[in-house]
């Protein structure tokens, strides 16, 4: 009998596990995949290291900062700033045709860019910053109001609205077209008021530290151990049945598998509407170069681009991908420590919106062909906003919504999960709780904080 059973060894599940184990619970983390990380895992291919998700660790604050999610999670996990090995970004941009707003980890740069390009809007922009809800004041009732309506009340130039929405939706909006105001506030803070950073060794560094901590505290991590059912008796979750058929019992179950995904595991009549299932998934075209991007004149960390004045954030309905907008990430362009130097190769990663169903329905012959075809198109779209790196490509890899689904089991390969969030983590089933993406905090730091706070509230305080 476990005190706590946690489903999923992604960021949130591992963080929740650390908290439970630290307070002497008998706890296990169950992961169906053969490795840890979930949406933010890592792999090796033809001798090179790849990260699945990591473009930038958001919410970056410098050592000694006491406020904000990053400082909070370090305290809660009893870890040090150095454990995450973060190096800050150089500079990023929001690039639209003929206009660009640059930003870095100090909001002053973005403010000065806004006042240069939109002189009539700078006071409005400041008012927007003042009206953001604080992390601790997020409640379901203001959370779900329309961001577009809010922004239209605050900012009178529609182009500036689209330019602000582009990076924010890219890094954390599970809904199509509009965004929950609460989610917008979280993401605005984490991108612009805090910032971007990356560990030199990539996401594996963070994951390995989390796992080591969990194990040192006596937690059990079981890989290749999928949960096929959550056992429910009289409206109360009492344990899980594994893919192997084995049963485990637990006092509480905390799931990071996603809300819809978790409810589908329950032996219960309770069913939630399919329309909350997220629709937004991505492809990513990763290129390894024989030169460093800076040698080609590219010094930006992340470029969020959109090729018209209107930003469209929706699932492509008539093709495999929508390449009007995208994110170009250059992992070389961080201020790494001198002792580390630069990464072994130059890397350019480009993300575009994609339709899960179309990718899933391809057969073995057409899947790789379609990948190659879109790889070319995505690169051609991106080089309108960064120097043409195509002649320098020496190796490539690409993942699709199908890949994301295959390795994380998230419905539709939806990276930011369901279109509504379960902020308090409770479900209609007693002793079954949600953490991670569908609780409401996305991203690496967000999902870690989610795991911590749900473990505190539901696994620790009540017991």
């Amino acid at each position: 009998m476990y005190d706590s059973i946690i489903i999923g060894a992604g960021m949130s599940g591992l963080a929740a596990g650390i908290r439970a184990a630290y307070y002497d619970q008998k706890v296990c983390v169950l992961e169906r995949h053969y490795t840890i990380g979930g949406l933010n895992s890592f792999y090796r291919l033809r001798g090179r290291n790849y990260d699945v998700g990591l473009h930038a660790v958001t919410n970056f604050t410098p050592p000694g900062a006491k406020k904000g999610p990053f400082a909070r999670l370090l305290r809660q996990l009893r870890m040090t700033w150095d454990d995450f090995g973060l190096s800050p970004q150089l500079m990023s941009s929001i690039s639209f045709p003929g206009i660009e707003l640059q930003f870095d980890n100090n909001i002053d740069l973005l403010r000065s860019e806004v006042s240069r390009e939109f002189p009539s809007q700078i006071d409005n922009f400041d008012r927007l910053i003042e009206s953001l809800i604080d992390y601790d004041d997020l409640e379901q009732k203001h959370f779900e109001t329309s961001t577009r309506e809010r922004l239209e009340q605050l900012i009178s130039d529609p182009l500036l609205i689209e330019m602000i929405l582009c990076p924010i939706m890219w890094y954390g909006n599970p809904r199509e077209r509009d965004m929950d105001w609460g989610q917008f506030c979280i993401m605005f803070r984490s991108l612009f008021l805090e910032g971007f950073a990356r560990p030199f060794d990539g996401v594996r560094l963070i994951l390995k530290k989390l796992v080591r901590k969990f194990r040192e505290l006596g937690g059990e991590l079981k890989l290749r151990t999928g949960v096929s059912k959550i056992k429910v008796e009289n409206g109360r979750a009492i344990g899980v049945i594994l893919d192997s058929g084995e049963e485990l019992t637990g006092l509480n179950i905390l799931s990071s598998a996603g809300a819809v995904e978790t409810f589908n595991l329950c032996e219960t009549e309770e069913n939630i509407h399919a329309h909350t299932t997220g629709q937004l998934s991505f492809v990513e075209a990763i290129s390894t170069l024989d030169k460093y991007p800076r040698e080609l004149g590219h010094n930006k960390t992340i470029v969020f681009y959109n090729d018209s004045e209107k930003f469209h954030w929706e699932r492509p309905t008539d093709d495999f991908c929508d390449i009007r907008t995208g994110v170009i990430c250059t992992p070389n362009n961080y201020c790494y420590d001198e002792k580390d130097g630069d990464l072994p190769d130059g890397v350019m990663r480009v993300t575009a919106l994609a339709d899960y169903a179309r990718w899933r329905n391809l057969d073995k012959v057409f899947y790789p062909k379609t990948k190659n075809n879109w790889f070319e198109q995505i690169q051609a779209s991106a080089i309108r906003f960064v120097p043409d790196y195509r002649p320098h490509v020496i190796d490539t890899d690409m993942f699709t919504p199908h890949t994301i689904h295959r390795f994380t089991w998230h419905e539709n390969g939806a990276v930011y999960g369901a279109t509504r969030k379960w902020l308090d983590g409770t479900t209609a089933i007693k002793n079954l709780f949600l953490c991670g993406t569908d609780q409401g905090f996305v991203g690496i730091i967000g999902s870690i904080v989610s795991g911590i706070s749900m473990a505190n509230q539901h696994l620790l305080v009540r017991s």
């Binding site: 307070y23 002497d24 000694g64 006491k66 406020k67 909070r72 305290r75 809660q76 009893r78 040090t80 601790d136 911590i452 706070s453 505190n456 620790l460 305080v461």
Partner: protein, 86 residues
């Protein structure tokens, strides 16, 4: 434990929870939150560390007693009197 020992135990917990805080000049009569950057999660950690280390239970209705060092020590005194100091 004597009040002085309880105070030292609470300081040790605060050092674990918030290693970046300088606690040498902590004023026992002032609220913790006026002197340190403690949020509600950290606050719960004090309660949970007390349970972990000394098996002392602090029910939710008593949390208000933990606002300052002075009030915390007086509140814990009867609960921790029987615990030997380390």
């Amino acid at each position: 434990m004597t009040p002085a020992e309880i105070r030292a135990a609470v300081i040790d917990i605060l050092e674990t929870i918030a290693p970046d805080e300088d606690l040498t000049n902590l004023d026992d009569t002032k609220e913790f939150r006026e002197q340190m950057e403690l949020d509600s999660m950290d606050f719960l950690d004090i309660v949970m560390e007390l349970r972990k280390r000394y098996r002392v239970q602090v029910p939710e209705e008593d949390y208000e007693n933990l606002v300052s060092m002075g009030s915390t020590v007086s509140y814990l005194e009867p609960k921790m009197a029987g615990i030997p100091a380390e």
